[in-house]
Symmetry: C2
């Protein structure tokens, strides 16, 4: 993505630019639909035509938009909020078409829910008997998560820091912002990151294949692992591979790596070998995982009398899966005991590092919130003390802390509001609260019998599914992007 500062902004130029970006996006989607059609043709699964038709529809729409578009123009920063949201919405809409066409019994609601869940890399599913589905559909779900994954990283690196959402300006690099009024010239960074993403995916796929998965499973699970999406090809989720425990360890590795900041990989490739280990966010993330896994392993060994290896494997896999917001499950961890139940509820909010494919609050926000707490304690004792705090190489100022705290506040408020709406659709307390949390954090599984790791979102009322899809999109857009569009302030002038 390279946009130069060419012509001055006008309402007309803005609209033309919107069309250009959206057309580009849809052309790409049409290409993916076409390649899925080819895969489907190769696998003889009888959904070839559905994908071909979808590709044609998408490409035609893209062509129409392209016809209305003009040259790249200077665009006001505030229009980026609208443009970003439109990109995700349009992507979901056209991505839902092949799903709706391929599965004769699927409702419009379910096709939309499943697609949004895929594109936002949430991974909650309304489909069951996954083993019986056409292979092309399974490939499509995985592909959507994989595309969603790269979209999220690019958004987190190139767009969100410019928009300064929820403390994201902390991650503003020289690449991500030149003037406030033009889109980032992040083309070289973006292509490096794409390379890392491709590399990770290829490694994950190969390792799965060598570990004993079928070629098809290796490809799809490779994509959904690195995208921290969490769609599996089996109703038992990743638990299908429990007889090959090394696959769980491999998958833990790939999910973990996908939840680290991708810019740091680029930094490593450019020669700064220790950049990952020096990063405060990565270090905190490792600590969170280590402590939680050790604690849970001990709990499982003593409380559930499980052997050490099995306790460690499943603790590690499921903790990493939830904390990276991937959302695979190797078994129903909510049955491990009340402590595990509460722990996994909390992990749902955490999320991985910023600038990765994972969702949730992100580790750096929890860290900065703790800084503020320490600062407050210090001020209570020494009211006149001057307080300075660094985060890595950057100075943490009050403005940044305010933005982070406000984000945390709106994050929990969104989940609370969504849970209340879901409760009006007669979802019980645990289901309402956990499915709201899992949607906004883009994790996938909730808690309880209905939406837990052994459950399925199919039985929820249609209204609840629509609201959950709003929650997933809001979470993916870091909430404020979406919320802003509903404020009258935004549309003034």
């Amino acid at each position: 993505m390279e946009y130069r500062q060419l012509t001055p902004a006008s309402p007309h130029a803005n609209r033309q630019f919107f069309y250009k970006v959206l057309a580009g996006l849809l052309f790409m989607l049409a290409l993916v639909q076409l390649s899925t059609a080819v895969v489907s043709f190769g696998l003889q699964d009888k959904v070839f035509w559905q994908f071909l038709i979808s590709a044609v529809i998408t490409a035609l729409t893209a062509a129409i938009l392209q016809g209305k578009s003009g040259p790249a123009a200077q665009i006001k920063k505030r229009y980026l909020f609208l443009l970003t949201t439109l990109c995700w919405l349009l992507l979901c809409f056209f991505a839902a078409i092949p799903l709706y066409l391929s599965l004769p019994e699927i409702s419009l609601t379910d096709a939309w829910f499943e697609t949004v869940s895929a594109v936002t890399t949430t991974g909650s599913t309304v489909l069951s008997n996954l083993e019986q589905l056409p292979k092309g559909v399974l490939f499509w779900r995985a592909m959507l998560q994989w595309i969603g994954g790269i979209g999220i990283i690019v958004m987190a690196i190139a767009i969100l820091p410019v928009l300064k959402i929820g403390g994201m300006k902390l991650f503003k690099t020289e690449n991500s912002d030149i003037s406030e009024k033009i889109l980032p010239r992040s083309s070289s960074l973006s292509s490096s990151i794409l390379l890392v993403y491709l590399l990770l995916t290829a490694l994950a796929m190969s390792s799965y294949y060598l570990g004993g998965m079928s070629g098809f499973d290796a490809v799809t699970h490779g994509m959904t692992s690195v995208a921290t999406g969490g769609f599996a090809n089996y109703d038992a989720s990743f638990g299908f591979f429990n007889d090959k425990p090394w696959l769980l360890w491999l998958s833990s590795l790939w999910m973990f790596l996908a939840a680290l900041p991708f810019v740091l990989y680029v930094g490593m490739l450019r020669g700064d070998r220790w950049i990952l280990i020096k990063d405060p966010q990565v270090r905190a993330f490792c600590w969170v995982i280590a402590i939680t896994v050790i604690w849970l392993t001990l709990y499982q060994h003593w409380h559930n009398e499980r052997d050490w290896f099995s306790a460690l494997t499943h603790s590690l896999f499921n903790v990493i899966s939830v904390v990276t917001t991937c959302g695979y499950a190797s078994e129903d961890y909510t049955l491990w005991g009340n402590f595990a139940f509460v722990l996994f509820f909390y992990l749902t909010f955490s999320g991985g590092c910023s600038g990765s494919t994972s969702g949730g609050l992100k580790v750096f926000r929890t860290q900065l919130a703790s800084f503020l707490l320490l600062k407050q304690l210090k001020i209570l004792i020494h009211p006149k003390a001057v307080w300075t705090q660094r985060y890595g190489s950057k100075k943490v100022d009050d403005e940044l802390l305010g933005a982070v705290l406000a984000f945390c506040f709106i994050y929990f408020a969104t989940i609370a509001a969504l849970a209340m709406v879901l409760a009006m659709y007669e979802l019980d307390f645990v289901t309402a609260l956990s499915s709201a949390a899992t949607a906004v954090s883009n994790v996938g599984p909730g808690l309880g019998d209905t939406v837990g790791p052994a459950g399925n979102f199919a039985s929820l009322p249609n209204g609840a599914k629509w609201w959950l899809s709003v929650g997933m999109l809001a979470g993916r857009l870091e909430i404020l992007t979406l919320l802003l569009l509903f404020s009258p302030m935004y549309w003034r002038n």
Copy 2:
């Protein structure tokens, strides 16, 4: 409480001053124990001696402390944190003695839990068959809540603003702070507030008596209503009076009035007639109640097919009871439906206004947190806009917002941590989460079968009861006061 700046501070003088304050507190408690003994003698309920013995023990301890105390001295502000915490702990300890002596079958844990629950005006109970208990014990529980209530107001008006905890500096008045290093000269304000408290209590008692309660019930429920404590004399809580619905309306009124800022009543008495209506916190509190009650009434009428009057009465009573953190229940509102269940969970956190007897987050903190959110939205659109916000007559600065947000953060973190500890004692998700919330917010009833409005805390494991009592005290001390004492920073120098 009037303390003058007399002698310079020394470690010795500090200790002497501590003894003086604690001795005064225990003398007062001994007096209350003695008067309860008198009441018990009058009611012939056979716990006269137990209360008399307790009074003697408390008075003797007070005398010993008094002997060690010196003249009022200049005391460093930071020692106030320790002194405040010690006051509450000592009060609970000596208040637990008569309970332990009077009830032959009560365990030490239960006596401590019930006392802490009383003094912090939480109102969670481990006692059942309340109707069978000696009247003196019921009187004692109500009396403790009533004392706790006045203690909380005095703390919120005279001490917390000086300590600047969680944005409380917003409520600093010319009375509450002269120098950073002396205790507030708030004697005239304090006595006015005591007057208002006595007046409200007397009005509540009279109205209950005229409404048809027995004299004893009117006195005790009058005290626990105005203290927003929530202890009732019956296992059915306030539901015992459901056949006299006007009592529920009266009780709603007294709980509501007790959750307003008491300084404003003093302002009214001093001539500023409209001060209550002009106050931003009071207005927001009224809106919260009005909207919630209307919504819940409609829900009960349509969803549960309840007649309008009964739907309104019970919605109003239970919403006000939870939102003021009183914690009476007229019936098991968790059975009203999933929407009500989630709603009452949220209401548990809200709390009433600052400077009242209620607990929880307090309305002004929710308001200021929303200000920060609006500010963030504005900044996203107009990055260079200068943002000013007033709260009532005071200007809201970034420092204040930071303090409030940090408080909210630590508040929820405390509840989350407590819930996790409780889950380790094998409390299920709903019980762990809701009892942690209800303890820290000092509400009383939780959710679910065990600790819900129809349940009882007796069946919880002992460890959980001790942790919950820590939570109640932490909530009452606005958390930071207690947390600070556990930070190494506090004890340095």
